[in-house]
Symmetry: C2
């Protein structure tokens, strides 16, 4: 790459500088929905599609969060809140780096999602409700969790023994029992590209 | 940008895919040293210089960590350890995204830095010891903390009432009372570029 092609606007680099380097806008796509609804499957598809357009993404999910930064948290009410708080704070750092960040967590209540939105900031928070009905999620039962919850082996399992509150105004609502995967992926990719264009005409002008 | 210019090697994107997109290698530059030694000043200089070469960086420091993800931690021994554990876990996620990550924390003991190294992984962890003598750090006293510590207002202040263990085998050791800032910056930038080239000949071949 050429030297000195990225002008810096001040002493310390800003989010705008990083977005300019990446030629994209940082944002959080927050997937909420029942276990097995298809959150991660859609996110993986979105990441693939955006990658092919040269957009840098990062997926935050149980695999890299519960095994890492949140490995010292359990499933009490307090720990579930702290789980989402930390995820939102990590997500905010990624958004500030200019990364399109995809968070895939059940996050079952309006209160817990409002907290995440407050931390990340309204302008950068796009809520995607994966609204697949519980019957379909339970039929899939990818991780065998529904069977265990029905046997009473998993306490406070969302949808079985603990409520899920549907988001009131999600940016998108996708029922994967009806919508083909590629269609869900396309809707989110289009939304990201629109947000990126919007960013270019406001924040990213030089 | 052109479509389909980034081939994907599997179903889920890997760190290598992201590094390929960014044309850089993710790594952690871990700055350790006394308060006022110059950790953040050097990191800001490194970030500026790498930005001009088109390299995406992110600085993790007290400003964005203690105010965010670690806002619920104090300064007890347990909390200081948890502080560094979380920083290392966040840093690991950034490294896996392909970002050159600069962490600026006193991190005064070999044990605490060994924990960070273990979490992030030996191959991605470059320790930079900012070895500026305490007399010079105290003379600068940018945040007025040394004066407060001398008055006994800050408990267990590293260098005054709590020990600092010098790293045994840092990748670089920089005394900013002797070395001009631009020289410290140059040494780290050269190290990052060397690591990036190394990455290209091993991991990043197609």
């Amino acid at each position: 790459m050429e030297h000195n092609i990225f002008p810096i606007h001040g002493q310390t680099l800003t989010r705008q500088d990083r977005e300019h380097l990446l030629r994209q806008r940082g944002m959080m796509i927050w997937f909420t929905g029942l276990s097995g609804s298809g959150k991660s499957t859609i996110a993986i598809g979105v990441e693939r599609e955006l990658y092919q357009r040269g957009v840098l993404c990062m997926i935050l999910d149980g695999d890299n969060i519960r095994a890492g930064i949140n490995s010292n948290l359990g499933f009490s009410v307090a720990d579930r809140t702290e789980n989402i708080r930390r995820i939102a704070e990590v997500g905010k750092l990624f958004v500030q780096t200019g990364v399109v960040t995809l968070a895939c967590f059940v996050s079952p209540t309006n209160a817990i999602r409002a907290m995440a939105r407050d931390i990340i900031g309204e302008a950068d928070f796009l809520e995607v409700y994966v609204s697949t009905p519980i019957e379909e999620c339970e039929r899939r039962d990818v991780k065998g969790l529904y069977a265990r919850a029905r046997r009473g082996e998993v306490k406070e399992f969302t949808g079985i023994s603990s409520p899920f509150e549907a988001p009131e105004r999600p940016a998108l609502s996708l029922d994967t029992s009806v919508l083909p995967l590629q269609e869900s992926v396309r809707l989110i990719v289009d939304m990201v590209m629109r947000q990126t264009e919007k960013g270019k005409t406001t924040n990213m002008t030089e």
